[in-house]
Subunit: 320 residues, 2 copies
């Protein structure tokens, strides 16, 4: 395992031929932008390159794909982008897990599974790392490359809203927009952040309806029970990605979403709005995660589970 | 009326004494950030300065206010920031409308009511104009000035999401964050964009419940009738600022919010999700506004008003 800098990575890319570029399953804007920008760059360098993903690319990212048809070829080189753990390759890429020649990533949790790794853990997105790499290599950007990099950076930062956004992140966006001022960045952002499917909007409405306040309004909780799903026709996956909803009300410090997997089995998602360490709280309940986003699994009646949860949150708040 | 550049504005500020800084009524992040950053800059220059607003500064902007107490003094100089039209001064500042010595603004609609105007209509925020001015003057930023400018720029661009965001906007944010990397920008953004009062969250839920789809799903409409308000206990002002809600569903091109002011009198807010010119549509109904955000007033029964509206929208879409 070799750690590379920009210069070494550039040399590797110049020497490589016929690359498969692997991105992670359930692909998001950052791995899609990373993969397709690298494909475009390698093609500009006169090489064959192909992006591989276990799952289909969601339609809203279709504008990042190249207009040229995909070629068929056998790979001589395997590159992974934005993949911290080879488990995340998913089914169709599994076969390449032990032969990744280069990994470009920004996750501090990267397992260093590749022969060579370019890792910038302070970058907000893999696209931010690649932006720096392409600039180092003096690659002339096309509009497609600009859109890929912008979309990756914007989606991984919640449109420059999250804590991972740095001066460097904004500087990348500034340079991309300066070079391609006519791209409709506002429309990209609208499609990434504001447009919602009718079933997602309905799920948000039903979850807002179900929101309860506890601990003097410092804890908001949404209980997605089997009963609620049956009554409303909502499906459990409609609630995916909505774990931040109970952190929205003013004054809330911990937001909890409780989803009944089967009778008496509850999957808990806990989010911290400010400074409470929800990873520590979930650890006391047999779970874990990050400081601001954690989870656990609890068994019992709804009332029992809520009592246990609120007591753990109360203690966790005292320690914050 | 004199149009100023940075150099002339700098000279004016160096010569002025005892300034009142006027911001607009219903103050937002941009006018508050503009006003208090300018107060701080004038104080750094050894001058007395005071921010005046007809309405109280909302609590969530409290972190932008100076820690030093406000002084009492009679003004020798009146400066307006982010105020396009003296009507927007509101009650307590009305008396100054005809004696504004300097206006700094970014609205193309500025009425040039001041003796001198520094106007950059391509800037996303008045704070972006002031950022350029302070840099031109070589003012050393304090953390408070940095927070004011960042907050003004972030709030006026929907956190760098809207079309008004340019390369220059990101470059300002990059420089501010580079100079003050320890400010908790992510927390500022959370408080500006994610935190909602319980009554706002409830209003969002009730409006989502009331959303109807028309014209093959290309038009979404929310009817806030007197009946709905009475049934739910929601107040009409709870729906302020939610006119973008009906543009969220996938496939929607025009979002309409219809609010019954009194029996048979409806205030219509129309928003364009993409390319339909809603100002043109509202003009055919006796109203007007911007291309992407317009309105009008209609009279009749709810069914009559909806029929008229949908016919106008259908025609407007054909022309897009």
């Amino acid at each position: 395992m070799q750690k590379l800098d920009f210069q070494q990575t550039a040399e590797f890319l110049r020497s490589c031929e016929d690359a498969y570029i692997l991105i992670h399953q359930s692909p998001d804007g950052d791995c899609i932008g990373s993969g397709y920008s690298l494909q475009a760059v390698l093609r500009l360098m006169g090489k064959r390159a192909k992006v591989l993903c276990s799952d289909p690319i969601p339609q809203r990212f279709g504008f990042l794909l190249p207009s040229e048809p995909e070629e068929d070829f056998e790979p001589k080189c395997i590159i992974a982008v934005d993949v911290a753990d080879p488990k995340l390759f998913g089914s169709c890429c599994e076969q390449y897990r032990d032969c990744v020649d280069l990994c470009v990533d920004h996750h501090i949790s990267n397992l260093h599974y590749a022969k060579r790794t370019l890792l910038h853990a302070d970058a907000a997105a893999a696209c931010e790392v690649l932006y720096g790499l392409y600039r180092h290599m003096d690659i002339p950007f096309t509009e497609q490359i600009a859109k890929c990099l912008y979309t990756g950076i914007a989606t991984d930062t919640g449109c420059f809203k999250f804590d991972n956004t740095t001066a460097q992140t904004h500087a990348c966006a500034a340079e991309i927009m300066r070079e391609f001022p006519d791209v409709r960045y506002g429309l990209i952002n609208r499609n990434m952040f504001d447009v919602k499917s009718p079933s997602r909007l309905r799920a948000e409405m039903l979850m807002l309806q179900a929101m309860e306040y506890h601990l003097d309004g410092k804890c908001a909780m949404i209980c997605v029970t089997q009963e609620l799903l049956a009554q409303t026709g909502m499906e459990e996956q409609d609630t995916d990605g909505l774990a931040n909803l109970p952190t929205q009300p003013e004054g809330v410090e911990v937001g909890i979403t409780l989803r009944e997997r089967e009778t008496g089995v509850y999957k808990i998602s806990m989010r911290s709005a400010k400074d409470v360490n929800v990873s520590a709280i979930c650890q006391t309940l047999g779970g874990g995660g990050h400081i601001k986003a954690a989870g656990c699994l609890l068994r019992g009646s709804l009332e029992e589970v809520k009592t246990v949860l609120l007591e753990a949150v109360r203690k966790g708040m005292e320690q914050a």
